[in-house]
């Protein structure tokens, strides 16, 4: 007798964006793919308008102030100060394991991006507190297949969070 099938068997190895928490970063599907290329170089970046000078976050393909499409990449601060910390133990989506530590981070008065809500990784629970310094960190996230023309290939991905600065 054949094994009883459960769920949707044909999905094995396939990819559906509707169940993916991470961005589709590949050049074929995303015009701000350079943001993710920069992550691989350890850079935290966004776009600045070459015409009016406006700095937008998240990065864009047009300037939200003047609608120019002449944009350049600039670097954002990679260190910040924790304003608040929350540790979440329950009610997490399957893609995260508890405890999930998050911080509301002050990137400083001089930064074009003043504050950011980020996950904190490489941090034992109960140790991070308001006033602590944290730094930008890049990590691998699950890859996925893409089909483009006759080609099917697997693309790797990265994302970012913050971690405590060692004292």
């Amino acid at each position: 007798m054949a094994t009883k099938e459960i769920g949707i068997p044909f999905l094995e190895g396939r990819y559906s964006p509707t169940l993916d928490i991470w961005p589709i970063e590949a050049k074929e599907f995303n015009r701000i793919y350079k943001f993710y290329d920069h992550l691989r170089e350890g850079r935290f970046t966004t776009t600045k308008c070459s015409e009016c000078g406006y700095i937008a976050y998240p990065p864009r393909v047009i300037c939200p102030e003047c609608y120019s499409d002449q944009l350049e990449w600039i670097d954002l601060p990679k260190r910040g100060k924790v304003l608040e910390v929350v540790e979440k133990w329950g009610g997490l989506p399957l893609c995260f394991k508890p405890p999930l530590i998050s911080a509301w981070i002050d990137l400083g008065k001089e930064s074009p991006l003043k504050r950011l809500l980020s996950r904190i990784i490489n941090c034992p629970p109960g140790t991070l507190k308001a006033g602590d310094e944290v730094q930008f960190v890049v990590f691998d996230v699950p890859s996925h297949p893409i089909e483009w023309g006759q080609e099917r290939r697997i693309v790797d991905r990265v994302y970012f969070a913050f971690e405590p600065v060692k004292k």
């Binding site: 976050y57 929350v86 979440k88 009610g91 989506p93 809500l117 996950r119």
Partner: protein, 395 residues
């Protein structure tokens, strides 16, 4: 078409909670409850349908839902037949859109319906789908999707800046559960004690289980009609949709518009716009339905809507000002905390409660109420939607 005015004339909801039913089953139950409230109106007397549901596409795999719903409930719309997706404010948005269609002369009698089927056969998806409720590429990977995280930050910031006590948060839940005790359609009918709230399971400290509204299945429907049609169909006092506002100043949490997370300038601006359009102010509002998705939310809402001073919302609610006999009875049918929150259904439920209050037929009646308001926030606190209702139209 000058001087056309829109009124809410009927409404009803199915039982909310964890339901043994599909979304399209509950749609039919809500339509039946709605027309049972106005026996003079038959399905063929309705010319428009606006259907508010965000997750029906993900959890029931149904796109272009409005014609499916219209057919099942016997409507053949000729003015509008569309679904709107504004997550938690979908219902209120439908009402604002129906008002515009009716006042422009395009529609006469519109059914607005909202709700969700949130419980999927496997429970993991109930939480998991929340990843789609925020800016996916930027806040999603930081787990901002499931909302207790952001509201725990909001509660901590409000406590830090204004000295709001943990017990004040609990008082919001206790008051709204008390209102919900005699609402059989709500998710819960439960008397809460302070002890129970303070010792409940942590969700995201300082928020415990009773500080968070539940995820619920449910639908609600209401009828919005022109003043002329309303007079033909009902002998009840008319309730006019005087005005409202919907506003969005940001999407990604990094672009939060306030000085800190307990500071909600987007809600202040929405309130200012809504009060101007409805030619009224907080001093003239007798009853309110606010978006108590979390206990801390209502504390900040009574402040930013102008019912008390900034920073004093916790004390205001703890001293009973949102209960019957208080300054602004709020969430008089139980609110999101006790009724549950099938996103698009909430604004419709709130509107039905305000309609009943202004017609003098609410279960927890505010004596002599003539002006009421509803408020919703959506997603990661990125939209605010206000509707103001009155026994008198704006003149």
């Amino acid at each position: 078409m000058a001087n056309r005015r829109a009124c809410i004339i009927a409404g009803g909801m199915c039982k909310w909670g964890v339901r043994e039913a599909s979304y399209i089953d509950m749609v039919q139950e809500a339509a039946k409850e709605c027309l049972a409230d106005l026996p003079t109106l038959k399905p063929k007397g309705i010319d428009g349908l606006i259907f508010a549901s965000t997750f029906v596409g993900r959890r029931s795999c149904q796109a272009n839902t409005a014609p499916v719903v219209a057919e099942r409930i016997g409507l053949k719309p000729t003015s509008i037949c569309a679904r709107v997706d504004v997550l938690c404010a979908g219902g209120s948005t439908s009402i604002l859109m129906a008002k515009g269609l009716i006042e422009s002369g395009m529609a006469e009698v519109v059914m607005v319906m909202g709700g969700e089927k949130l419980y999927t056969p496997e429970r993991w998806q109930v939480q998991y789908d929340e990843i789609a409720s925020v800016d996916h590429d930027w806040d999603g990977p930081q787990n901002v999707g499931p909302p207790p995280l952001l509201f725990a930050f909001i509660a901590k910031d409000h406590m830090r800046h204004y000295g709001t006590k943990r017990e004040a948060l609990a008082e919001v839940s206790i008051a709204n559960y008390d209102y919900g005790l005699n609402n059989p359609k709500g998710h819960f009918q439960k008397k809460l004690s302070l002890e129970e709230v303070l010792t409940a399971k942590d969700i995201a400290p300082p928020l415990g289980m009773f500080d968070c509204c539940p995820l619920s299945d449910g639908f609600a429907a209401a009828i919005i009609a022109s003043e002329e049609k309303a007079r033909e169909l009902t002998e009840r006092p008319l309730v006019y949709i005087r005005g409202g506002a919907q506003l969005s100043l940001h999407s990604v949490t990094a672009n939060w518009p306030g000085d800190h997370l307990g500071d909600w300038p987007h809600l202040r601006l929405a309130a200012q716009k809504a009060y101007e359009r409805a030619k009224t102010g907080p001093g003239e509002i007798n009853v309110a339905q606010m978006h108590d998705c979390f206990s801390i939310s209502e504390i900040i809402e009574v402040e930013e809507l102008g019912f008390c001073k900034k920073g004093e919302g916790g004390a205001f609610i703890a001293e009973g000002q949102t209960r019957l006999g208080g300054r602004i009875p709020t969430n008089t049918d139980g609110g999101l905390l006790s009724c549950g929150h099938p996103f698009g259904g909430t604004g419709i439920r709130q509107a039905i409660e305000i309609m009943k209050q202004l017609q003098g037929r609410a279960t927890n009646q505010v004596k002599g109420a003539v002006m009421g308001m509803t408020h919703n926030l959506s997603g990661a606190n990125v939209e605010h939607t206000i509707v103001i209702y009155g026994r008198e139209p704006v003149r």
